[in-house]
């Protein structure tokens, strides 16, 4: 009994809502393998016309930054406004930068 009752692995789901846009992370689900993950992602995350393309990836295959390192990783960027490209004058013809 116990060796047949294993949880299906967890998968992260990324959905592209329109051609040209990026795939966006929208949640996770359990599935036995990749084909099942794609199918249930379709059923769970695109049932209201949210998508035109789906990616799934095993959650345990994602390498994440350590939340404990958040300070040393991200805080130093706080006072470096000169890294934002806001000091340039754009020609009027350039929209949506």
């Amino acid at each position: 009994m116990s060796d047949t009752k294993q949880e299906w692995p967890l998968w992260e789901v990324f959905v592209r809502s329109k051609s040209g846009l990026d795939h966006k992370h929208c949640g996770s689900l359990h599935a036995a393998d990749a084909p099942m993950a794609i199918q249930v992602a379709r059923d769970v995350y695109t049932r209201r016309q949210e998508g035109t393309s789906i990616w799934v990836v095993r959650s345990d295959q994602i390498v994440a930054s350590d939340p404990g390192e958040k300070g040393s990783y991200f805080d130093p960027a706080e006072d470096k406004v000169y890294r934002h490209p806001t000091f340039y004058k754009l020609p009027a013809a350039v929209d949506h930068m």
Partner: protein
């Protein structure tokens, strides 16, 4: 209680009711899984398929009502007909059984519906052809999803395989009704409304054999048993389905929310 309606007997009407009712009752049985699926993800998938089928049933029953010309809309046809006036095949009214039985019945019915919708795209009735054009995409997905489960369970553990074999023994004999031609079929085929369902049998058997083969299962041998839901003579199970489905509209006629 709201009185039942009587319906016309033309072959074209019967042909449409067979399609609409089969989709509707299959949807009712699938919807029973809502909140009871083996996993949350599959629970949603089964409910999605039920809703697809209700959409198909609604479109076809609305068309049937228009064709009958007696002023019955799709809701009246669904909620106010007696059991004997339902024209669904018996297979879809059988209790949902365990998940193996549900997966197998889904595969059998989705394969059938996909083949039927493909042909109905060429119906001389433009509205039916348009309904089929939309429904065939849904049926393709239903077939893929259900076939996947048949393979996973048939080719799975000893337990899942035993359950799938049980489901085959229980359900397979009911497939014969799908393809038993009668006057309704022949008239629909002659008028160009849609194919005689018997024309779909060879392709259906071929596709089911591929699915079962991949699952390591074999189709049971044919039996002389022939169910008769299409003619309105149902199993003892349909009455309970209708009682639950129709109760609210019978008690509160025309009720909406």
């Amino acid at each position: 209680m709201h009185a039942s309606i009587e319906i016309g007997t033309s072959a074209a009407l019967q042909y449409l009711l067979r399609i609409g009712d089969t989709a509707l009752i299959q949807a009712q049985r699938l919807a029973e899984w809502c909140g009871h699926g083996p996993a949350l993800e599959e629970d949603i998938a089964l409910s999605n398929m039920a809703l697809d089928l209700i959409g198909q049933a609604r479109a076809v029953l609305a068309l049937a009502g228009a064709l009958e010309g007696a002023g019955h809309d799709e809701d009246q046809l669904a909620f106010l007909r007696e059991e004997r006036d339902y024209r669904n095949v018996t297979l879809v009214e059988l209790p949902r059984g365990d998940f193996a039985a549900t997966a197998l019945r889904n595969a059998m019915m989705a394969t059938f519906f996909r083949l039927l919708w493909e042909r109905l795209r060429e119906s001389r009735d433009r509205e039916l052809a348009a309904i089929a054009g939309k429904a065939v995409k849904e049926a393709r997905y239903h077939q893929r999803h259900a076939a996947d489960w048949v393979v996973r369970l048939g080719d799975g553990t000893a337990q899942s395989r035993a359950r799938m074999e049980r489901a085959l023994i229980d359900l397979w004999p009911y497939a014969a009704e799908l393809f038993a031609a009668d006057a309704v079929d022949l008239e629909a085929a002659a008028s160009g409304l849609g194919p005689a369902w018997s024309e779909l049998e060879a392709a259906w058997r071929e596709e089911m054999e591929v699915i079962l083969g991949e699952a390591g299962l074999a189709a049971p041998a044919a039996t002389p048993f022939l169910s008769t839901g299409k003619q309105g003579a149902h199993s003892e199970h349909l009455g309970y389905v209708l009682a639950e489905m129709q109760h609210l509209q019978r008690a509160y006629p025309g009720g909406v929310w």
